[in-house]
């Protein structure tokens, strides 16, 4: 038996462009932080509105005392393709970091402090997670001046409203 199917109800089509993103940076270490920064800068380059949230060890990227000292994780990182014991040798993380930084400089990828400043200059909001700030016993004074504010999870969702959320 055949019948006529009811016309499906189609909601308004979502727009084909992304107008706004909120990017969460939750991991410390060089390879933890760069992806978030590259996504943020790339979004601003496309004219997309950006808010960046740093939480847990991702906050190293905006801490005055740690920002310039972020290293590649050479231990417990399967992506390094080498024995864990080798990665634990003194100086190894610094060496790996130098090698990677040199490679990135060739591609004109800035060091983390310069990159964060550039992203802030491009008009992105830079936020620290309140729970993490409290947990590490920090204040706004411990964070770089480009930080827009310290935000609770609720405030994060308010800021992210109407956009896409990217978690790294």
């Amino acid at each position: 038996m055949t019948g006529i199917l009811e016309e499906p109800q189609v909601a308004a089509l979502p727009t084909k462009t992304i107008e706004k993103v909120a990017i969460v940076c939750s991991k410390g270490s060089l390879e933890g932080i760069y992806p978030a920064l590259i996504m943020a800068n790339g979004a601003r380059m496309e004219g997309i509105e950006v808010d960046l949230f740093f939480t847990f060890f991702g906050m190293d990227a905006i801490r005055k005392d740690r920002q310039a000292k972020i290293k590649v994780a050479t231990v417990g990182n399967p992506g390094m393709h080498m024995p864990t014991l080798l990665g634990a040798l003194p100086g190894f993380a610094s060496l790996a970091t130098r090698m990677m930084s040199r490679q990135m400089e060739k591609l004109d990828i800035p060091p983390i402090p310069e990159y964060v400043e550039m992203i802030a200059d491009s008009g992105a909001g830079i936020y620290a997670c309140k729970a993490s700030v409290d947990m590490f016993g920090l204040t706004k004074e411990d964070l770089i001046p480009q930080v827009t504010g310290i935000a609770t999870v609720g405030e994060f969702y308010e800021l992210a409203a109407g956009g896409q959320i990217i978690f790294t």
């Binding site: 590259i38 790339g42 496309e46 800035p110 550039m118 491009s122």
Partner: protein
């Protein structure tokens, strides 16, 4: 007067030698920039020079450091993306870099 040149789907000139300053003004208007100020021109000309001498459009970092217009101002001049928009106005291909 309408100027006719070949462009790709996104409106970037296919041949940068067809570019003129009048055309730049027109592309700017179509993309929401009513008047190109001397600061706009500084960026657009830097982009063109770089592309013509090196074959590549500069990164936003290079643009901020070397064009004489800092990153903050770049985004004020070209809110919808300085590198992309300055390239379009300057008649060179869309920058393909992630940086």
């Amino acid at each position: 007067m309408m100027l006719t040149v070949a462009v790709d789907q996104e409106g970037f000139l296919l041949d940068h030698t067809e570019w003129t300053r009048e055309l730049a003004e027109e592309i700017a208007r179509e993309n929401g920039i009513e008047t190109l100020t001397p600061r706009h021109w500084q960026v657009v000309e830097f982009m063109r020079d770089r592309f013509i001498t090196t074959g590549n459009a500069p990164t936003i970092r290079a643009l901020g450091k070397e064009s004489g217009v800092p990153v903050k101002e770049l985004y004020q001049l070209f809110p919808k993306g300085p590198a992309k928009l300055a390239a379009k106005i300057g008649g060179i291909p869309k920058p393909r870099g992630c940086i």
